[in-house]
Amino acid sequence: MTTTRTKQANDRWNWLWEWANPVKFMSLSARALPWVTAITVVTLVVGLVWGFFFTPEAAKFGSSVKIIYVHVPSAMMAINIWVMMLVASLIWLVRRHHVSALAAKAAALVGVVMTVIALITGAIWGEPMWGTYWAWDPRLTSFLVLFLFYLGYMALWAAIEDPDTAADLTSVLAIVGSVFALLSRYAVNFWNQGLHQGASLSLDAEENVSDVYWQPLVICLVGFVALFVLLLLVRTRTEVRKRRVHALEMRERMSDA
């Protein structure tokens, strides 16, 4: 008994697992929320205002270039949120921390919204630039597929009544889905090359933009990450509270019976 306790005390990652305790999570996140909110507001306002109003218009693109301040960060977050869901699912399956499962659930909606934002801003940008809202370009297609994966994941969460079963099954789906999502990414690359050789429509923004655009973009990226953390904390807190309400209701029903 004592050995396990000392082992736990010596665990280098203890600070992380503290968050897994719902009570600790609620108090820690309550303390973190104002800071995260402040960082989000400051970085997003500075980044977006700088990006939208104080950068020169690009020669080839006109003012449409400014959409990258929304498009690139949302696209980055869409992928990273899925990775975060995968990690949270693994933690749930291995260590059975409820907060982890709830965080994965809470992240899914943010992720799907980011995917939609990336797709829509991409379409708005694509119309004047490529002359079409939609093309079956590898990048566009893999984002559409990612969107479908998010939909399936959320639908499975919504369909199962028992919360622990839902957490288990969605975790398994997240793991298998990640493998297939990655596979789809490469399959789509291959498929499009097979259709039109070399005619790549995608603009690799990070290599093409100069410093003038790069600096506000980095601030926007930070802002979107902070926004995600903020939304994640708020939504996870909501989920934890929903769990508590549910538990209280069950207890009441038990005492009535």
Partner: protein, 218 residues
């Protein structure tokens, strides 16, 4: 395990629905496409591999919920879970049974239906080969999806929403291999990828599906 395979095969042949239905659906899809697209032979021949692959995939999807649902309802899935056969093995066998009654007939019929789509000579052969390599993956991925949704009342629609994104890589490589083969181009890369997806699915997905079943039976 062989007894389980025989039982599943017998059930699917005698209980009606599963065996012929997928094949008939595949035929109807193949007949409907020319009505929608028009009867020009060149256009049909060009889209034939894609249409046949999508048709086979949808026909496969039709019968997925039968893999575990009926056994779950009458309790034989609980017996299977407590049987000495490991759950992973049972899942693999049930996916194999599904493939034998859906994937294999579709594979055999596809070259024939290719005639309806004015497919040219090497195309039939490549249709057969790609479907033979690809349909086992469809059955195995489908069995995983069916295992996830087995406890749900109206799992059918959700099952397709979960499984169809997982089918994307198989479909892309399979249809690409068939199309390239038909056009006389080198198609060993997509062909190997289809075979790789099938091998990977058959090797790994039984574990995921068995885990999902255990959670659902808990």
């Amino acid at each position: 395990m062989i007894a389980l395979l025989m039982r599943d095969l017998r059930l699917s042949v005698r209980a009606g629905g599963g065996f012929g239905l997928g094949l008939a659906f595949f035929l109807i899809v193949t007949v409907l496409v020319p009505f929608g697209v028009g009867p020009e032979a060149e256009i049909l021949a060009r889209i034939a591999p894609g249409i046949l692959w999508v048709g086979a995939l949808l026909a496969c999807l039709l019968s997925l919920d039968r893999i575990f649902q009926l056994d779950f309802e009458d309790g034989s899935l609980d017996l299977l879970a407590t049987a000495p056969v490991p759950m992973e093995g049972a899942v693999a066998i049930k996916a194999l049974a599904h493939w034998l009654v859906t994937g294999l007939p579709l594979t055999l019929a596809a070259p024939l239906f290719g005639g309806l789509m004015s497919m040219q000579a090497p195309g039939h052969w490549w249709m057969f080969v790609t479907l033979l390599l690809g349909t086992p993956a469809l059955s195995m991925i489908g069995a995983f999806g069916a295992a996830l949704t087995v406890g749900l009342k109206r799992g059918g629609l959700l099952l397709s929403l979960l499984v169809l994104p997982l089918y994307v890589p198989t479909l892309i490589f399979g249809a690409e291999a068939a199309a390239r083969g038909m056009a006389g181009l080198a198609n060993s890369t997509p062909l190997l990828m289809v075979a790789g997806i099938t091998a990977g699915s058959v090797a790994l997905l039984p574990f995921a599906a068995a885990a999902a079943l255990r959670i659902n039976l808990r």
